[in-house]
Symmetry: C2
């Protein structure tokens, strides 16, 4: 043990030295936050972390340590280590999947553990494999509510394949954390949430080793290792000093000398835990279709289509934020109980679990009210940086939900999701569109968002008509005025077009069920052929369909005037019909707008 | 006590009956979630809640109970009670400030307690008044991480003026909660976070009374009352039954009879706690100005301007998410320590506390990295429904932050904040603009967002030039091509214009420091006079400056082609200059775009 312990201490020093060197080469970075956790990582990689385990640096700013570890385990060489933070380097300021085997991007605190809980949940219930998930967490990020969502959830699920290593270095960016070095405070909290918690000296390699061994032996509960550490450990000038966060060291050569100089130790990870990944049974199933004119809520079509898709594809899984009878993911649960995950009212954990599932190759569909995905917006933003492929289905779009009032109405979701890198934003107007888009989302890379309606809409899309991401359809033909709509407003627009037809105005209604990418060709054709455009959406006037249409026309040859109909005043409670009318996005308002701009009527 | 207890039991039944009646009249709503908490509210209003206490229904869906309570305390009459959820009624599906004395809108779970913690913090540290804050919480919402942010923070602050009443009715929308009726589980968790916690039978009016009295006597800690209740209590058909969430009762008359029929009890709240609101001392102070050409980071100007404003105005307070040395709110802390609040790395609580502070009439400025406000997007959304006046300052905008990489770069913030109802979105390009906008935000209603830069920019705006919300300035004059920019890209655009001038192309650079409202007149004039428009922003191409410009031109008489320069590929680490170049938003890219569209060059 003595020799092994000595090696680990030396390895810890190497990780510190390399953290200092990488940050010095970059001229920025977080060496002191790396130095506190160096012994924890040294012992982890020398004897505990297995080749098929997952390791997530929830404290992503300890990237120098992460890259130093990649060097020690032979993933990168010293030359690459020193490219840290340079343009073109795979070693970004905070880890991203650009450098394997990084699963996800971190750097927004409080996300690594929730995602790790998702990976662990996949391991236990989907893959059914013995790999373990280790998360290195900072003590500052324990203030994030998302950490407690995952602690709560992992405790409830009894995820004994999840280990949180909490680096309690006491010092945040500007001051001491709320708990400082009160290890018992952390232990009490974690224990109260059903975790096994072990307080240790995070610089004693033998204590660390024993704690990891204990974690590996614990059944039915996740384990947290609460490690007392010193920020900047090993270099007196910065050790446990305030004001040293996020800065390279001043005297790098002295610091390296104080740490015992450069070393070139290398480590082999432990043998993989192995096992065979579970595969769920599949069965032929048709994606459902509906007859023209049937009245069906698109949220209901979502549930039915996802259920059929889940029969066909064993990799499809569903998650919900305890509103499955509203989103209709309950249909999937009934048919595929083993692949349904109840995330309760914890939207950050909902999205994080989806990200964790796709790390393991599953195809997650997460659903809640579209308004409540705003709760997880930072997780969606980071999921894009993680290059994650996830599918989010948000129900109860806009004022058309009616009586529940504005807290339940998604009115900013299109804007928020359009502004996610590489995202796909879909808002079908009927059941047939919905089912086809649910199917298409399964193979769509990046973040896909499907917005569904609470109320029923008539099926207008023939069952055999193609519906594709980036597509659109003409719901009513004409060339006097173009009315571009999506979701509930398609129905209103068609009714407006019908009443305009009686007056001799031929309105074209373009159903842009794909808002990003938008069918720019169809939008431009409508603009060109109709000469005037009205957009209408059950969403705030900023960032949604109207803006997508304006973008499609921004540099087009024909740029007719565009009138944007959208929700502009804070809605209240009322019936769907009343609220569509009050917002000025119902058939009557659309017809009035068309009359105002139509050349025939002028 | 016997008579008082009888009265309270009767009052509880009245609240149930009125909850059932209101929901029946509406044809929707959450009577069963109201019935579980009726006794808790009956005892609260009869003897404990004082006229100047605050009561927040964190479980906003118990609105029938809330309105029944308003009737029992004489705030509304029975006729108004039965307008629940109808168009025009003040009694919306979930409470909003449209019905006094409601402080804030609830209905997105997990927000009432964090806001309540903010109100309590204001009471203890700003107002310095003895009023108490009571929050009725659901057990389902205990899964939200935001609840634990506030539990953590209130425990750390020792807010003995805060009482959480947790209605443990066991049943969520679709199933049992994670903890069910494990009251000890809640007590252990709350106690571990430094709260005093009392488990009671939530239908025993004497136990409830004793618990409230105990809460009132506890010092230095917040109290949680963990009350075991039955959902739908009092009506056998729905009592403790699954599948009864969010629905009116089937047999209303029978239910009312079972509850003992209608009653007309009324209650007077207890005498106000009284006291005199604390006022902070003020002193004359000039909002700082800088010389033309000085290089100053706008985040630094934010800190200095806010500090001066804080000297002048005793109602201005600052909060930060533990990055005050990055956002420069540390300047305010140094000068006005009593009015600075460290919210640690808990952005939901950060925004919630700001909302709570403005409930008490304070003028909060909350700061963190702009990217991390995405963590609190649902809180910002709800703050708009609360008609809250809050000011948010987000630093570290866009790729121009450089080496830290995409996790720290705000690239969707303009889109997200533009899509908040009634919001103001500002992105100054220099220090003088920043200071004037910080001052203007103090009196701006609604949600104001100021986006600041990490790096220094040269002061281009003369100190005596007016800078107003809704304004813009011409940073370089010309009429061959309009370049519309904001923040860091103004500097790039001016340099592009200077190089274009050498080639004989006169570019107008319009600095749209106010993105919402945008200076539509100046944008339209630029379009009209220049004939072609380029927008350039350090933000994704969706929802930001470019879309705001397109909207301003959508129905204008002159609608020249608009070329949008924005960030389109996922950024990596690099120097600010490299990343601006890579994103195609630097001076060279702007000049190239101008050459491509400029009529002179064609």
């Amino acid at each position: 043990m003595g020799e092994r312990s000595d090696f680990r201490r030396e390895l810890g020093q190497q990780l510190r030295v390399d953290s200092v060197r990488a940050s010095a080469a970059a001229g920025s970075g977080h060496p002191t936050s790396s130095m506190s956790a160096a012994d924890l990582i040294a012992v982890l990689i020398d004897g505990h972390l297995r080749e098929d385990d997952h390791l997530i640096f929830s404290k992503g700013h300890a990237s120098p340590l992460y890259y130093a570890m990649l060097k020690a385990t032979g993933r990168i060489d010293d030359t690459e280590l020193l490219t840290f933070r340079r343009l073109g380097s795979r070693l970004e300021g905070h880890p991203t999947p650009r450098i394997p085997p990084t699963d996800v991007a971190t750097g927004s605190l409080g996300q690594g553990l929730p995602i790790g809980a998702g990976v662990a949940l996949a391991g236990a219930r989907l893959d059914r494999l013995p790999f373990r998930v280790w998360c290195l967490c900072g003590d500052s990020e324990m203030a994030e509510g998302s950490m407690w969502e995952s602690i709560q959830h992992a405790g409830w699920e009894g995820l004994d394949n999840l280990v949180a290593i909490i680096d309690v270095n006491r010092l945040g960016q500007t001051r001491e954390t709320m708990l400082g070095w009160d290890l018992d405070g952390y232990v009490r909290r974690l224990t109260a949430f059903g975790w096994h918690a072990i307080a240790i000296d995070g610089h004693d390699v033998d204590e660390i080793d024993a704690a990891y061994a204990e974690a590996e032996s614990i059944k039915t509960r996740p384990t947290a290792i609460v490690a007392r550490t010193l920020k900047g450990r090993g270099v007196k000038a910065v050790e446990d000093q305030p004001g040293r966060h996020g800065k390279p060291l001043d005297d790098v050569d002295d610091a390296i000398a104080e740490l015992g100089g450069e070393r070139d130790l290398s480590v082999e990870l432990a043998e993989p835990a192995g096992g065979t990944r579970h595969a769920f049974e599949t069965a032929p199933a048709d994606i459902p279709t509906w007859e023209l004119g049937e009245e069906v809520a698109t949220r209901k079509a979502y549930g039915e289509a996802l259920t059929a898709l889940g029969s066909r594809r064993g990799d499809v899984v569903a998650l919900d934020g305890e509103v499955s009878n509203s989103t209709h993911s309950e249909d999937f649960r009934a048919a595929h109980e083993d692949r349904y995950f109840e995330m309760f009212i914890a939207e950050q954990q909902l999205v994080a679990a989806a990200v964790g599932f796709q790390v393991r190759g599953w195809v997650p569909y997460a659903s809640t009210f579209a308004a409540f995905f705003t709760r997880a917006y930072d997780f969606v933003r980071m999921a894009a940086i993680s290059r994650a492929d996830i599918r989010l289905a948000g129900s109860h779009a806009g004022v058309s939900i009616g009586e529940d009032g504005p807290s339940q109405m998604a009115l900013e979701d299109l804007a928020a999701f359009r502004a996610i890198h590489g995202s796909t934003v879909l808002h079908p107007s009927d059941a047939n569109q919905t089912a086809k888009l649910v199917e298409a989302m399964a193979d769509q890379p990046g973040i896909s968002f499907l917005r569904t309606l609470r109320g029923k809409t008539p099926v207008r899309t023939p069952a055999d008509e193609p519906v594709v991401i980036g597509g659109s359809r003409i719901a009513h033909d004409g060339d006097d005025v173009a009315i571009i709509a999506c979701g509930i407003t398609v129905d209103e627009a068609v009714r407006a077009a019908e009443s305009l037809a009686d007056e001799g105005v031929r309105a074209r209604v373009l159903d842009c069920y794909s808002i990003k990418p938008i069918d720019a060709e169809a939008v431009q054709a409508a603009a060109r052929e109709c000469g005037t455009v009205i957009t209408v959406e059950d969403h705030w006037s900023e960032g949604g369909l109207g803006d997508a249409v304006l973008e499609a026309l921004a540099a087009a040859e024909d740029r007719p005037p565009v009138t944007k109909l959208a929700v502009r005043d804070m809605p209240v409670s009322g019936t769907p019909e009343e609220l569509l009318r009050e917002a000025g996005i119902d058939a009557e308002a659309i017809a009035a707008a068309a009359r105002a701009v139509s050349p025939i009527r002028r």
